[in-house]
Subunit: 454 residues, 2 copies
């Protein structure tokens, strides 16, 4: 049987996620992000299409690097307003049975003790379908909201994250033994206190002296996602992540990242296949090639190139508002670790350069991701080629229209993938971790968290 | 028309809330607290009974004062395990249309910027049905979970709370003007940035320099609940709260608190009737007086008196495990502001004293609240007397069995209250605030937050 392709839907609790301006399209429902109906309809579509998970991005700040102002982001709803992503999960869990939920939560501003409880609560309520995308934040505007002048330096953020993970693992894995909960009405004993342990964590950044407030949830530690692109970020992913979210404009770039990540995982003592790697992709599809291209042309009439530059400025830290559209962008790899987004653009093809205007046009549909346009069969073929040539496990699918892009994928592409034997006809049983890895529900023995178990 | 009685259901995302041990009763479902089904079933029952709101308690720590150990709390599931209360709200919002949600969130450990977003998100998703019970925490075990040796001193916590409220109000009320959001697909403008303001808060404890991440939600500031019993707590409630949750063992005690709170509200420049005051009550009812008393006798066979002492030790800071059951408890009003729970017990009737054993027996059903037992008509009559004699607006109804206690209330008592003209037949239209006060959806001009509007 050929390798099974994994599919996440990529969304955010906001209006303009990766395709700025498209919220103005008559068929787009992104601006109903603040209703339960939007999320439950989306979840039903994704489960119909056998998507593995909904992956929710998040950012606790505003894209205000472009023109050194938040105005473009606000005017065009570029990832602002942005609501809390965790709050939409319980409603989606109610209307689905199998769909996983990978939710981005920044660890820079919330202490491990209440955060661990929040994730355990969701793991209980979803019956083991929660995942956590570990991020440290990248916008100074977020830090200012927290009363700090700016973000910590990039590498320091990963030191904080490492300490945070140790504290969280102890709460999830080391506080309650498997047999601690009795739930015995006859003996009138809910739990055996001798099997419940106070965990003590005295790290450089976090101290915890507490019993975890939650009884063990199905997965205990949520499925761990990570998306770091830098050297430190990749090391962190190789050590901690079960699912890695990457991004690259070409098979060559993505293939190199995949190879590198699996080497790092092996170096960290893990099985390289314990990493499920998703690369970001934007798909525009319909019943025929021509109709798909018509759709694309139609969408171009709604994009906001200014919004795209606001996004790119936030991602790279470079103010594209201070440049002319004809300026050629040069990547200085010493300037800022955040410029990896730009590096991916500008080094994909060493024989070409990018102007600011070209970046704006490209990023306006699907952000930094490649865009595939074609019939369901053509898309399936292209996705297969990406998997075979890069070693990636699957795709994080950005939308142009929501939930339309996801419905198109379910209706036109998934059946083609299934008929090629590349995509599941039914969900595997069990928790999110068991569905993804065929083992679980807890982290495997090779994961660093396992060593903390009592 | 006589004054309408208000009813909240009082629950917590845990197993043993106010009646320790009752989870072992065959008809109790409290130990399914970690499922969505428990909460959606509960919400449907409450809306059927026209309850104004579900009030969710919370505590980020473990009751470990009794015997200086968490063991009793863990063994008997006394408010531990305790899951995150916010996560169950979206699922309940899906299956109801009118029920309000008053959720306890401690402000001592979470910064205003992400917290304000979380509440705005819930106000959007519930279409304006969210309330926030402002607490500062009282267990040192919670502080240790956060890396601190103990709680801040009681009065200092209210200074922190005051600063926190100012920052949160600014985010909710002052960042986005009413006309800032355009949502205009034609002009391709989501918002008018000139009407969106960066708020700057430089307080003694919190600094915020940010645009609120959420567009205005129906109520903006959630309906504000508060439950402080101390002098500082009552002043805080009089200044900030819209709904106050109090507790007392007799009409005399409760009546004095109600009078005092309304005086303090007037002194703070507010209309005393702008405070809706709920007192805690436990009701055991059935079709007849005899059946209700049989129920009570039956419940007594399941209580955990040791669990009750663990609760009382946590509330008062006194280790009842170090005393004998026959010891008489003396209240020292200089010892600890937290001992107000004990004060309520021991000063209710100046002619009697309480032994530790009597406290355990009393607190094992309904915690610190009075217990009313009788037919629906008898309970309705007693509730009416409480309202008339104390000036209280309604009741925070603790359960003995869940959701059975709430179903009993809906089936046996609510129709009796309705036939006496004391309880609504239908919900009022609009948001939670509009349903409670007949005005809104935003805070009135006399509330201190109103002065911060742009």
């Amino acid at each position: 049987m050929p390798r099974q392709i994994r599919l996440n839907a990529f969304d955010m609790n906001c209006i303009g996620h990766q395709s700025p301006g498209l919220w103005t399209h008559p068929n787009d429902r992104a601006d109903t992000y603040n209703t339960l109906e939007y999320w439950t309809d989306l979840a039903r579509i994704l489960e119909r299409g056998k998507f593995d998970a909904l992956f929710l991005a998040d950012v606790l700040g505003i894209y205000d690097v472009y023109n050194q102002s938040p105005n473009t982001a606000l005017e065009h709803a570029v990832q602002v307003p942005v609501n809390d992503p965790l709050m939409v999960v319980p409603a989606m869990a109610m209307v689905t049975e199998h769909l996983g939920f990978g939710v981005t939560c920044a660890l820079s501003y919330e202490l491990p003790y209440p955060f661990a409880r929040r994730m355990s609560t969701l793991d209980h309520l979803t019956k083991g379908r929660i995942g956590w995308n570990i991020v440290t934040g990248y916008l100074d505007s977020a830090a200012r909201g927290m009363g700090m002048p700016r973000q910590k330096a990039h590498d320091d953020r990963y030191d904080v994250a490492e300490d945070y993970m140790q504290a969280a693992y102890k709460l999830w894995e080391a506080s309650w033994e498997d047999t601690a909960v009795l739930r015995d009405r006859q003996s009138r004993r809910f739990a055996d206190p001798s099997k419940i342990h106070r965990i003590l964590h005295e790290g450089p950044h976090f101290r915890v002296d507490a019993i975890h407030l939650c009884e063990p949830s199905p997965q205990r530690t949520p499925v761990l996602f990570q998306a770091g692109a830098s050297n430190k970020g990749r090391d962190f992913a190789a050590r901690h992540a079960e699912c890695v979210f990457i991004n690259g404009p070409s098979k060559k770039v993505v293939g190199n990242i995949v190879t590198d990540l699996r080497h790092r995982a092996a170096a960290a003592g893990r099985d390289p296949s314990d990493l499920i790697i998703f690369t970001m992709m934007t798909v525009i599809t319909d019943t025929t090639t021509a109709k798909a291209h018509d759709k694309y042309q139609n969408y171009l009439g709604y994009v906001s190139e200014e919004g795209a530059l606001a996004l790119m400025s936030g991602w790279t830290g470079l103010d594209f508002g201070a440049m002319r559209p004809t300026d050629i962008v040069r990547f200085d790899n010493k300037a800022n670790a955040q410029t990896s987004a730009l590096e991916a653009f500008t080094t994909a093809d060493p024989d070409r350069t990018w102007t600011v205007g070209e970046i704006a046009r490209h990023a306006a549909i699907g952000g930094r991701s490649p865009v595939l346009i074609g019939s369901g069969a053509e898309i399936a073929e292209q996705l297969q080629a990406w998997v075979e040539e890069t070693g990636v496990d699957g795709f994080n699918l950005a939308y142009t229209l929501t939930p339309g892009t996801f419905a198109d994928m379910a209706d036109f592409v998934v059946p083609e993938l299934q008929s090629r034997g590349l995509f599941k006809h039914d969900y595997a049983p069990g928790t999110f971790r068991e569905k993804l890895f065929g083992r679980g529900p807890r982290l495997p023995a090779t994961h660093p968290a396992a060593a903390l178990r009592p």
